[in-house]
């Protein structure tokens, strides 16, 4: 089985080339003879990138299949240009053991649209009391590489120290949802001028920054790998820069929504804008964009969080936090990073594919576009625009804050090991 991508520009650079893919591997780049029976993808004017990797996805299976399944979430991922996603552990039951992580991994393989890598819980039941069997999960069929209690913070400093220390024997990474729970009791929105006026209970920036600072010091002490989930404040960027300068093995992600949206949205009281950590100020968003461009923040992760209508169309305080992200991520990055000149397409490849693959320890993802490399690829039309309609997205839930927005950058095709998984907005 062979495929030829005709006339795309890898990383948006240089002259258009043809890419020949045979048996899941890139075999030639340049002027390519189209083999008989080959599938041809006309890609003139398009940018060819390594397939995107999302370190932070909530697929809701098992437990909330009314909002997303591994099937529907994989479709959303493929349509969004992803070839691998990491599925967070806060399912019901929690992915804190080999049985659940293997189930998630196997379902991902059966669906076959995207590699689904389960994230294992750091603590049993996400309770923050006792380490889960990290070693057993790492050695399971799913080969768990990332552990996180996301949704909750491993707040106990001693338990976090033990998790970091223990992880060094397994070559895995502990991904922390940085939120000091004592500082965020009842928190509903970024603590600042807008929350003060609108009567939201505040989620102070320091609740994130203090945990990130603490964890960086613990990771340095333990010589362990720490990954900071969904960085939301400029102060956290300061802490990360300081920690990296000292040689801490820390990486960090930022969500598309924290790059674009701000607490200006609070005035609507519409919980489609409710997310944890909350939308911050314009100056935070600005700093997150430059920190991503400079590499202080390593990558973009979606925190794709599907929710049912009855969990969102409520009064603000009753709503669950989270928003969809997989199918809009590339466009938000194009809007905030490419249009602004902060990143070129090679930079996009770095933050959406290469760095997340490295952090998640995936050998066959985020690879260079070169002969001999696995054909995990994404084609993007950089000049096209589209209008977001939640109901038309592949997710079962429809909670997108970008409803009706016109966005740049359209994913036109996604290839997983040479197989076209999505093309022109449709699953293949």
């Amino acid at each position: 089985m062979s495929t030829v991508i005709k006339g795309a520009r890898p990383y948006g650079e240089g002259d258009p080339v043809d890419v020949l893919i045979e048996d899941g591997v890139i075999t030639a780049i340049g002027a390519v003879q189209v083999p008989e029976g080959a599938e041809v993808i006309e890609a003139a004017g398009q940018v060819l990138l390594p397939g995107f990797v999302d370190l932070h996805t909530h697929l809701r299976e098992p437990g909330r299949e009314d909002t997303e399944t591994i099937d529907s979430g994989s479709a959303a991922a493929a349509l969004g240009g992803y070839t691998a996603v990491f599925a967070m552990a806060n399912t019901d039951p929690v992915a804190d053991n080999a049985v659940i992580v293997d189930h998630v991994w196997r379902r991902g393989q059966e669906v076959g649209l995207v590699d689904v890598h389960p994230v294992g819980a750091v603590t049993v039941g996400l309770k923050g009391e006792k380490l889960a069997e990290l070693g057993t999960m790492a050695a399971s069929q799913a080969r768990v590489k990332v552990f996180s209690d996301d949704g909750l913070c491993v707040a106990d400093p001693l338990l976090m120290r033990r998790a970091l220390e223990y992880s060094t024997a397994l070559d895995v990474v502990i991904a922390q949802h940085a939120e000091e729970p004592r500082l965020t009791v009842g928190a509903q929105a970024h603590e600042g001028e807008r929350a003060a006026r609108l009567g939201y209970t505040g989620w102070p920036a320091a609740a994130e920054e203090s945990i990130v600072a603490r964890d960086c010091l613990l990771a340095l002490h333990a010589n362990a790998r720490l990954h900071v989930c969904h960085v939301s404040t400029s102060g956290t960027a300061d802490v990360l820069r300081w920690a990296k300068d000292r040689g801490t093995k820390v990486s960090a992600e930022v969500t598309p929504h924290h790059l674009l949206l701000t607490d200006e949205r609070l005035a609507t009281y519409d919980p489609v804008n409710k997310v944890n950590p909350p939308l911050r100020t314009e100056s935070d968003a600005e700093r997150l964009r430059t920190a991503l461009a400079e590499g202080v923040i390593d990558c973009v992760a979606t925190d794709h969080a599907p929710h049912a209508v009855q969990d969102k169309d409520t009064e603000w305080s009753a709503a669950r936090p989270g928003m969809l992200g997989l199918q809009t991520a590339l466009s938000i990055v194009a809007e905030t990073m490419v249009r602004t000149g902060l990143l070129d397409w090679r930079g996009v490849a770095r933050v959406m594919s290469e760095r997340p693959a490295e952090i998640g320890n995936l050998a066959d993802q985020g690879r260079p576009i070169a002969a001999g490399e696995p054909a995990n690829l994404t084609l993007v039309d950089p000049d096209a625009e589209w209008t977001v309609r939640g109901a038309e997205l592949a997710s079962i839930a429809a909670n997108t804050p970008y409803e009706g927005m016109r966005l740049p950058g359209v994913v036109t095709a996604t290839l997983l090991r040479g197989r076209v998984t999505a093309r022109d907005g449709k699953i293949c």
């Binding site: 929350a195 003060a196 939201y200 505040g202 009753a318």
Partner: protein, 310 residues
């Protein structure tokens, strides 16, 4: 006026019109034995209270009844709320049953605004009777009515709001309305009871009540919830009372014309000395009386004065 959700952004001319209507209603009803106007005959007003507040609910109920509206009280304890029905479904049910106006009290900030969006289709008006720590606009209007009565005008008057501003929807509503009507507001509270970002509000901030009192035309004491006293917001009720309570000694620092307000219920002795609450400077019972007239005026502007005002 379609809804009354907040005083933040409320047109000062409209606020003044409501206050003027309240004055007229007060004079019309003065000395009448039967306090009943036919203005809202045939209209249905529902009070939907998710928090107990006899004081506010009764004030709205009397206001509606004095204008001949059919007033139905729905409270969380007796409604389907306890069965897990969502606010949205409850609101749509009430609108379908023919409510012209829903007066809502809810523990979530923004609940009244959400309600107004869900009820946009049936065209039901919404009055915010207190949403979380956001606003309580009719309380601010009745406070403004009371201050206007005592001080003549609010223009360039200086008003101290004292106590738990952080959790107070009354404070937020008053800050915006008083500023819109030309008054200066000074917040006096311990730093733990002021919202982070308070400097974005049209106020000045002080932690020294003694220093502020000689220069104010009115002092508005806020309620301190019992749970705050044990929540580490300040060391003890005693220390709070010493620093921020309106004692008889402190009252002597006020100018002679100054007015003392309290939204009630009062913690006598701690927030305010009994002698101060019962003194001629206190307008606390007038606040309650004016509350009915102000709420009548709000219902009038929402339901009866089609096209008469913005």
């Amino acid at each position: 006026m379609k809804h009354l959700l907040a005083t933040d952004g409320l047109d000062p001319a409209l606020a003044t019109a409501v206050l003027d209507t309240a004055d007229e209603l007060k004079h019309t009803l003065l000395g009448r034995e039967v306090k009943k106007l036919p203005t809202l005959r045939g209209r249905t007003v529902i009070t939907l209270f998710y928090e107990n507040s006899t004081r506010t609910r009764v004030s709205f109920e009397i206001a509606g009844k004095w204008m001949s509206a059919d007033v139905i009280n729905v409270s969380a304890s007796s409604s389907s709320v306890n069965k897990g029905e969502s606010l949205r479904d409850t609101a749509l049910t009430l609108a379908a049953a023919g409510a012209d106006c829903v007066i809502v009290r809810h523990p979530a900030s923004g609940a009244a605004q959400r309600l107004s969006e869900w009820l946009a289709e049936p065209g039901t008006s919404v009055v915010n009777a207190g949403d979380g720590t956001h606003e309580h606009p009719t309380q601010a209007l009745l406070d403004a009515a009371t201050l206007r009565e005592r001080l003549g005008s609010l223009k360039d008057r200086r008003i101290a709001i004292v106590g738990d501003v952080l959790h107070s929807r009354v404070a937020r509503s008053n800050i915006h309305l008083l500023a819109a009507l030309g008054a200066e507001v000074v917040l006096v509270a311990p730093p733990t009871l002021l919202p982070y970002g308070v400097e974005s509000l049209p106020v000045t901030v002080s932690h020294d009540l003694d220093a502020e009192l000689p220069a104010v035309d009115a002092v508005m004491m806020l309620r301190v919830q019992a749970e705050r006293m044990h929540g580490g917001f300040f060391p003890s009720a005693r220390e709070y009372s010493i620093a921020y309570g309106l004692s008889e000694r402190r009252q002597k620092l006020l100018p002679d014309h100054a007015v003392v307000l309290h939204p009630g219920p009062m913690l006598r002795g701690m927030e305010i000395a009994s002698a101060v609450a019962d003194s001629p400077a206190s307008a606390i019972t007038e606040q309650v009386r004016n509350g009915v007239h102000v709420r009548m005026a709000v219902l009038y502007h929402l339901l009866a004065s089609e096209g008469a005002t913005a």
